[in-house]
């Protein structure tokens, strides 16, 4: 057995053990070492050299990165998630012909879709979607994300929030929470524009908080400029609404006419 490979396998076992213990600091440390060790394998992307142990190494590396992605969700680090996911992706897209498909593949792809949705990167979301095959779209994990996006776009925010209860995988919860926040931001942005003020109860309903307390907390954190007075939430739209810019139509008309006149003179 290749000493490198043994080392990686052993390290990975320790990582998995720490992972099970939810000892995330150790995990992080071990992961970093693992990644460095992985750079020594020439069979991994982007080189994909044909070595006798290639399949084994690839599978191991894929496993490590899948764990890394899940770990990043658990420690709620979106940047790490993005990094690890991109490093994992070649194993799915480019090595699919050589490796048996991983059971983790669709949940992780779905997670990534969810992340894009959370970060409101809709264009990238659709790019990713286009890259998926028809069978993948049938997968509940992916389907979940796609449906969420549809409801999100339609403005059926209640469906989005209720979807939290039907997550296909436990790791989704983190993103679902984040998504709820994204949705609320969206709603409050709209209501700010639409209303001058709302009764607290209506506001709670619209923002879909279960209690008034939650609403107050949310307002305090995210929208300190809103005022709560006499049982109403008063949006500060009136204050900041700047006079809308006027189209300088008269000036434009004058200019066009003078051009026409000049043109006539020249010709």
């Amino acid at each position: 057995m290749d000493p490198n490979l043994t080392e990686v396998s052993q390290l990975f076992e320790r990582f998995k053990a720490a992972f099970m213990r939810n000892d995330f600091d150790t995990c992080d440390n071990l992961l970093s070492q693992l990644k460095v060790l992985l750079t020594k394998f020439r069979s991994l992307p982007p080189l994909f050299e044909e070595t006798p142990k290639a399949i084994h190494e690839l599978t191991l590396a894929r496993d490590i990165y899948e764990h890394a992605v899940v770990l990043s969700v658990k420690i709620e680090d979106q940047d790490a998630f993005e990094r690890d996911f991109f490093q994992l992706k070649p194993y799915y897209t480019d090595a699919c012909g050589r490796l048996p498909p991983s059971p983790q593949e669709y949940p992780i792809l779905g997670l990534n879709l969810l992340r894009l949705l959370v970060q409101n990167r809709i264009a990238e979301f659709h790019t990713e979607l286009e890259l998926l095959s028809a069978t993948a779209l049938e997968n509940p994990c992916i389907k979940h994300a796609v449906e969420l996006e549809q409801s999100f776009m339609e403005g059926a925010y209640n469906r989005v929030l209720s979807a939290r209860q039907t997550v296909p995988h436990e790791t989704y919860v983190y993103f679902m929470d984040l998504l709820a926040k994204t949705v609320r931001d969206e709603i409050s942005g709209c209501s700010e524009k639409a209303y001058d003020s709302l009764s607290i109860n209506d506001a709670r309903k619209i923002e879909m908080f279960s209690s008034v307390q939650d609403l107050f907390e949310y307002i305090k954190e995210e929208h300190p400029e809103w005022e709560i007075k006499n049982g109403f939430v008063i949006f500060q739209r009136a204050k900041e609404s700047a006079p809308c810019k006027e189209i300088p139509s008269l000036q434009l008309i004058n200019q066009t006419l003078s051009y026409a006149r000049e043109l006539e003179r020249i010709v």
Partner: protein
């Protein structure tokens, strides 16, 4: 499908993973990502380009130990994005990571960019004269790495090119010294320094370096040194180098008179130094004397030059030998030898067709003075330098109808015909010259013409004649004196300030001619006077004169040119155009071309526009292929002056090339609606087609017929008729043995030729200036010389169909002259057999030769004597002249006999026979070439005798008996030729 994908090597589809890895905190991971990205950048640069800021920050991170790799990656991405400047600056940051030897587009592009950048910084620094302190050392390092690599790989030519471009003379020297064939490399250097180094100053620097390198070599190539030095105009270096007569001839060919004079003076001073023993080491190579000694050692070793047989003589006769050699070299340097030989050649090979002239004469109305004098011009040009003035002598009556200026030009025409006939020039012209003191017998016109003629005869070699000319200038009141080159400044100036119009014009031009290329401050003085005077003619003369002074000065002349082209007076602007043309002549300088084109379309004066277009011809003559393309639009201008200029520009720059595009461009212009455009086009066409045979371009024949038609047509305009007459003269110039050449074989400008054409193009204002075209004629001949500067019989091969380069057939009715001059030396199968026979014979000789050769080398000192005794013997390996003609299918080659006509296009077909008796010192297919006698013991057969000039004179004198006086008494008795009869002007 999956199996197929697995079979083919798996490729990543995105660089996303690697880019993500860049954000990892661990430096090893970053490094891994970087190096992989660097490997895949060629396919993933669009993806990477979005992450450039991250990589840039890596590069700027002082702690990151692979900053250079990051820089290299960024540089590559910028390269793909087309941002070469950014790319270069990051590549510089990459330091040694940027591998100059990598064979990729990226590296090639960036190297080119780097070298460009470096070269431009360097030249800027050189121009502003401050040290290159702002030079980026990293850039310098890259360029140096590149140069070193080229030198190591043996790509010396690239290295040399780059070194010259980058002004790295140290590297240039290194490249030359390390190359395996130093001589070839050096000559390559000389070539490129002429064709690509535009700045005069810098070119001189390069050439100086080359001379230095040449001198370091164990066996210096004196020929090339001399060439370099000549370009440098530094006579001092030559006394080291000057050796073989061949060099002298090559020098003469370039016609750099002032330089030659200096060399000559230095030579005589070298003689006065005490002679030292011949067995000196090469270290003593200081004085000319020593050099000849050491060089002769070289020569013995390499058997290189003809000089060997002389130098084996012991120290005793050495003084004598030296003196003898010195006179020879001086003779050559003064140009006399080559002029004389040319004269002999032109005389003996004169193939001009008198019938054409006769036809012209008959068709021209005698009262039409323009055509009448045009005929005289045509005659003069046709016979330029041949000394054959039969036509004039046969038609004295007709000639006598010339009046005033026509008389002037008729007389001056004699000068053209006798061009180079130095010794007899005076006596020839004597009857027409003003008799000093006596007030002159003839009309002032013919006297003036005679002086002009004398000037032309002695052009560029005038020492002897100048005193005489000066005297006559003072003592006579002749209006116009075209003196050329050799009148002292003071005299000319006095004439100038007399403010007489015609004299002033002439004086202006002559001042220019005198000071050609000197850029003296006199030009300013002339300009000031040009502003003062009222006479247009004087202004024009002065303007041209100023233009002549700046000849070849390139950038130095810019201020003066600027001053002239901004002037109010169109004539001065017109002079400015000429100044531009001459200052940048033959450089194809873009700036000059742009300026000229600008004036050609924007100036208000027709004269200026015409001249501007015409000047393009001068600027571009070194690259004749360019001209038709550049002026093709102008040749379709609505303005006839511009069209005329375009025609002449093509004529000047493509002269003698027979370039097909040039002919196509001129063809429509010869039937232009405006008469003077037709005239210009006809003349230009003739200049282009000179010496092109009908076989190589059928349009030549058509053009000849067109000329004939125009001349015979009664209703044709005088202007175009004159053009046609002149054109037929130019077409057959110099007895069909000369061509118009502005560049010598070594690609050096021939000053006389360029200046001659420049003044010729002035004939618009004054017809007699047409004669100046004769200055630009150069004989197309191969003349082989033995050590005694005689022309031995010698044969060589022209590996082309004879018809391709033969003389045009004489026109229909055969006259006595043309019958006698039917093409000789047409080779046939019999000639082949003969060649075989000769070879066999030669082989036998070779065997005997060997024994005798051994003998001669043992008794080395005798050879000189042996040779002279052999001369007396008279027994020879005479080869029958191959004059027999056979009407057989044309052979694919012909054998030419020394001296032979070799037209420029033919040069590449010339081969020297290996078994012949003589071997040329320099393998040049035309011009003067010294022949080394491989069998010095055998007697030589000379093919050109010494006395053709006297026989010529005798023959001419024989013709002259048709004159009024019987001159039998004077005829053929003495060496002096009989002066032609002074013809009388009857009208």
């Amino acid at each position: 499908m999956a199996a197929a994908a697995a079979a083919t090597a798996t490729m990543v589809s995105s660089a996303g993973g690697l880019l993500a890895m860049l954000n990892e905190s661990h430096p090893l991971l970053k490094l891994h990502a970087l190096s992989n990205l660097n490997a895949f950048v060629d396919s993933f640069w669009p993806e990477i380009s979005t992450s450039v800021p991250i990589i840039e920050s890596l590069y700027e991170d002082e702690e990151f130990d692979q900053r250079q790799l990051a820089a290299l990656l960024v540089s590559k991405v910028f390269y793909y994005l087309g941002e070469l400047n950014d790319s270069l600056s990051y590549a510089l940051g990459a330091g040694p990571m940027f591998d100059v030897s990598e064979d990729s587009d990226y590296v090639h592009t960036l190297l080119a960019k780097a070298i460009d950048e470096y070269a431009s910084v360097k030249s800027k620094a050189a121009e502003s004269n401050d040290e290159a302190d702002k030079m980026d050392p990293r850039l310098e390092a890259i360029v140096e790495r590149m140069l070193d690599k080229c030198i190591l790989d043996g790509k010396y030519q690239q290295a040399i090119g780059m070194a010259i471009e980058c002004r790295r003379l140290d590297k240039l020297e290194e490249a030359i010294m390390k190359s395996d064939n130093i001589h070839a490399t050096l000559s390559y250097c000389i070539n490129i320094s002429h064709s690509f180094v535009n700045l005069r100053e810098y070119r001189h620097e390069v050439l100086r370096l080359l001379v230095k390198v040449y001198k370091k070599l164990p066996s210096p190539d004196y020929l090339s040194i001399c060439q370099c030095l000549m370009f440098l105009d530094e006579a001092e270096g030559v006394d080291d180098a000057l050796l073989a007569l061949q060099i002298a001839f090559d020098l003469v060919e370039n016609e750099h008179q002032a330089f030659l004079l200096n060399v000559r003076n230095l030579l005589s001073s070298a003689k006065s130094q005490p002679s030292e023993p011949a067995q000196q080491g090469p270290a003593a190579a200081e004085s000319g004397q020593n050099l000849i000694a050491t060089a002769s050692e070289d020569v013995q070793m390499t058997d290189g030059t003809q000089a060997s047989n002389v130098n084996v003589q012991e120290a005793d006769p050495k003084e004598v030998t030296y003196a003898e050699r010195l006179t020879k070299i001086k003779g050559i340097l003064s140009g006399e030898t080559s002029i004389q030989l040319t004269l002999q050649f032109l005389y003996s090979h004169n193939k001009s067709d008198l019938l054409i002239l006769k036809t012209i004469k008959q068709s021209v109305e005698p009262r039409n003075s323009v055509c009448h004098s045009a005929t005289i011009y045509a005659n003069a040009i046709m016979h330029a330098g041949t000394t054959v003035d039969t036509f004039l002598r046969e038609n004295l009556d007709w000639l006598g109808r010339a009046t005033n200026w026509a008389k002037f030009s008729a007389t001056a025409g004699l000068g053209v015909i006798h061009r180079g006939h130095l010794q007899q020039g005076r006596s020839l012209m004597a009857p027409y010259l003003p008799q000093s003191g006596a007030g002159g017998g003839g009309s002032p016109y013919s006297e003036g013409g005679a002086l002009y003629a004398l000037g032309l005869i002695h052009a560029n070699h005038g020492e002897g004649i100048k005193q005489f000319l000066r005297d006559s200038l003072r003592s006579t009141n002749v209006e116009l004196l075209e003196l050329l080159m050799k009148i002292s400044m003071t005299t000319v100036k006095t004439v100038l300030y007399t403010d007489s119009a015609v004299a002033g014009e002439a004086a202006g031009i002559s001042m220019g001619l005198l000071m050609v290329g000197t850029a003296s401050e006199k030009a300013g003085e002339m300009l000031a006077y040009a502003h003062e005077t009222q006479h247009e003619k004087i202004i024009r003369g002065l303007a041209l004169g100023i233009a002549l002074t700046v000849y070849g000065r390139e950038e130095e002349a810019d201020t003066l040119i600027e001053q002239m082209t901004r002037d109010q007076d169109p004539i001065l602007r017109y002079g400015g155009m000429y100044a531009l043309a001459l200052a940048y002549s033959g450089t194809a300088n873009n700036k000059a071309i742009r300026q000229l084109l600008h004036f050609a379309v924007s100036d208000v004066s027709d004269d200026v526009r015409r001249t501007a277009v015409l000047a393009l011809g001068f600027v571009l003559y070194s690259e004749p292929e360019q001209t038709p393309r550049i002026v093709s639009l102008l040749s379709e201008s609505y303005n006839p002056h511009v069209r005329y200029g375009a025609a002449l520009a093509v004529g000047i720059s493509c002269a003698g090339t027979g370039l097909s595009e040039a002919i196509s461009l001129l063809e429509p212009l010869t039937s232009d609606v405006v008469d003077f455009v037709r005239q210009g086009a006809l003349i230009a066409m003739a200049m282009v087609m000179v010496q092109i045979s009908e076989a190589s371009d059928s349009r030549v024949g058509a053009f000849r017929r067109q000329l004939e038609k125009i001349i015979l047509d009664k209703h044709e305009d005088t202007m175009s008729k004159m053009g046609a007459i002149l054109a037929s003269g130019i077409l057959d110039a110099g007895g069909r043995n000369v061509t118009i050449k502005l560049l010598s074989k070594t690609k050096h400008d021939k000053i006389t030729a360029v200046v001659g054409l420049a003044v010729f193009s002035q004939f618009w204002y004054w017809y007699p200036l047409i004669y100046f075209i004769s200055l630009s004629f150069s004989p197309t001949a191969f003349i082989g010389l033995n050590y005694d500067l005689k022309v031995p019989r010698f044969e060589f091969l022209s590996h082309a169909k004879p018809s391709l380069f033969e003389y045009p057939r004489p026109t229909s009715a055969p006259t006595t002259t043309s019958a006698a001059k039917l093409p000789t030396a047409v080779l046939s199968t019999s000639a082949k057999a003969k060649a075989r026979a000769t070879k066999k014979e030669a082989d036998q000789k070779g065997i005997t030769e060997k024994s005798s050769g051994a003998e001669s080398s043992s008794a080395g000192s005798n050879t000189g004597k042996g040779k002279s005794s052999g001369d007396k013997d008279g027994d020879s390996m005479q080869v029958d002249s191959l004059t027999e003609k056979k009407a057989e299918p044309e052979s694919s080659f012909e054998i030419l006999t020394n001296p032979a006509r070799v037209v420029p296009a033919q040069e590449k077909f010339i081969k020297f026979l290996e078994d012949s008796r003589y071997a040329p010192v320099k393998l040049a297919p035309s011009g003067f070439s010294l022949l080394k006698d491989l069998r010095p013991t055998e007697p030589e057969v000379l093919s050109l005798t010494d006395a053709p000039s006297s026989t010529a004179a005798a023959a001419a004198a024989g013709g002259s008996t048709t004159g009024q006086q019987g001159s039998a008494s004077a005829m053929a008795v003495d060496e002096e030729p009989q002066p032609p009869q002074p013809f009388e002007y009857t009208s």
